[in-house]
Amino acid sequence: MNSARVKKFYYLMKLGREFELAAKREYMKGNIAGFLHLDIGQEAVSVGTMQAFDKGDVFTHYREHVLAIARGMEPKHIMAELFGKKTGVSKGKGGSMHLFEPKLDFYGGDAIVAGHLPIATGCAYARKIQGENAGVFAIFGDGASNAGAFFESINIASAWKLPIIFFVENNYYAIGTHISWVSPFVELYNKAKNYMPSKRINGMDVCEVYNAVMEAKEHIENGLGPYFIEAETYRYEGHSMSDAGKYRSEEEIEIFKRRDPIENLKKKALELGIVDEKYFQEADAKVEKVVNEAVEFAASSPEPEDYELFEDVFCKECENALP
């Protein structure tokens, strides 16, 4: 464990956690609407993956706020997007599920389960012929691993030896459906192992996630084709804010909470003496400030103008052709 890296992991995971808690509060107050999928409990995956995969293109599903933060998107622009404001990362037109930032090669927020996997695969094809070896990172949930788009994508990526990491965060539940009811395997790396190197890791441990993605990155950068990682993880909250999560027992949730990625990282770092208590206090204070500022920024930002309804449907050239 490297001190600087641990500090970074801690800060980003804590920022992710507090950002999501703030989003939850703002949702309850009515400042955020629609579907809001919280990442609470899964921060080790979001932060560990993005810290390791620091170049290349990232395609994500809709539980992506913390991935976006860890990729370098400003929390205030994400919060403003959740509020539906003009200053949001997608000008208030996308919302929680659609955070795109081409400048960061972050094509996040696809809300059609598995829909982004063929797109990520096509992008990996382009990167290969363009000679860009950083490749592509595609993250999705256990539910997506049952969809046709998933199987088409691992087939094509493997047939064409594409530089892409398929990363499934297995939190066991597709909304309220347990993976064991609908898949022959609970351990999902089994689905890809005939196509590419595939492994299952502990997704509650940010260092393990980071190391696994570093290894996968080296594999794809060396032109060895795709790589598959399954991370076992858990969301403490429901699927979205409209899910009370009654299908899970308190005991089950408690088992995973004992494996909390943030608390355990802190505990381990203190035990090993590589980061002192003072750093954690400072990090927590900074997180609080950043999250508060994000909420204030979002709350005080203007609504989109009426004319913006008709903007961004087409490029200017095509827009001018419309009646």
């Binding site: 037109k93 659609h98 829909g115 797109i119 096509g122 094809y125 990167r127 088409e152 449907v313 095509c318």
Partner: protein, 324 residues
Amino acid sequence: MLYREALNKAIDESMAADESVVILGEDVGRYGGSYRVSEGLFSKYGEKRVIDTPIAELSIVGNAIGMAIAGLRPIAEIMTVNFSLLAMDQIINHAAKFRYMSGGKMTIPLTIRMPGGVSRQLAAQHSENYETLYSSIPGLIVLAASNATYAYYGLKSAIFLNDPVVFLEHELLYPMEMEFKELKNFDPFKAEIVKEGKDLTIITYLKMRYDVLEAEKELRKAGIDVEIIDLNSLRPLDIETIANSIKKTKKCVIVEEDHKTGGMGAEIVAQIQEKCFYDLDAPVLRIAGEDVPIPYNRKLELLSIPTPDKIVKKILKWKAENGI
């Protein structure tokens, strides 16, 4: 020039001019394309840019979107519009919406070519017109090439537009020898006035253009001077050209191979009544495909779609009924 040669020329020249242009689809490479549109391109540009895909339409379009995000200008070929339904999620939920839901940050320069229409006895799963499915979606451009000139210029425009374009072709047109006109100025969104006339406006597109041209000969014999408009672009729809024609002729007929209910003609009629209601001397006549899946039997197949003979009969009957 053959219609398919015009398409080939457009792709070939685009690939030669810009190395970001790639083509992908089932059998587009080594085989040369199911309708020979991509013939010769594999040997000329190689397997990296002329990509043979598995039979997985969702991935053909999905992969193409990813390529477009990475800076390529992909041309995805779907073997027939019926199969495009497997890619509908990618076309509608992804390609059409990325620019908008990213607040204008994403650009998807993608062309999806689809042969379609009623060919000859291919039965219900290989004979379809799904233009209304696509032209009703905000974020998609829908072009329909009925002739070699538009096939060439329209496809070239589609390839270099910075938005997703559904480019419709008709299966019966590929081997047809057609006149090719060199154009100085070209607007892909502009309808073509195929023939000027003063008595009656007929609006059509794709293969029905030729059925209308046949019918026109008979109508001329009956003393009717017909103006024929070929739409070329189904979205955006060139309602200006339509409205100007109706101002002159006061009468309008739409001829489409598409099913009548909810077909392309339904939208055109709606726009005409908004824009030209007081110019019309009679209700607009829709001559369209019957509301049945396309049958295999040749006699029934021909009964299910407009033919020159039926077009003439229906127009004469409509004129008599309306006293025009």
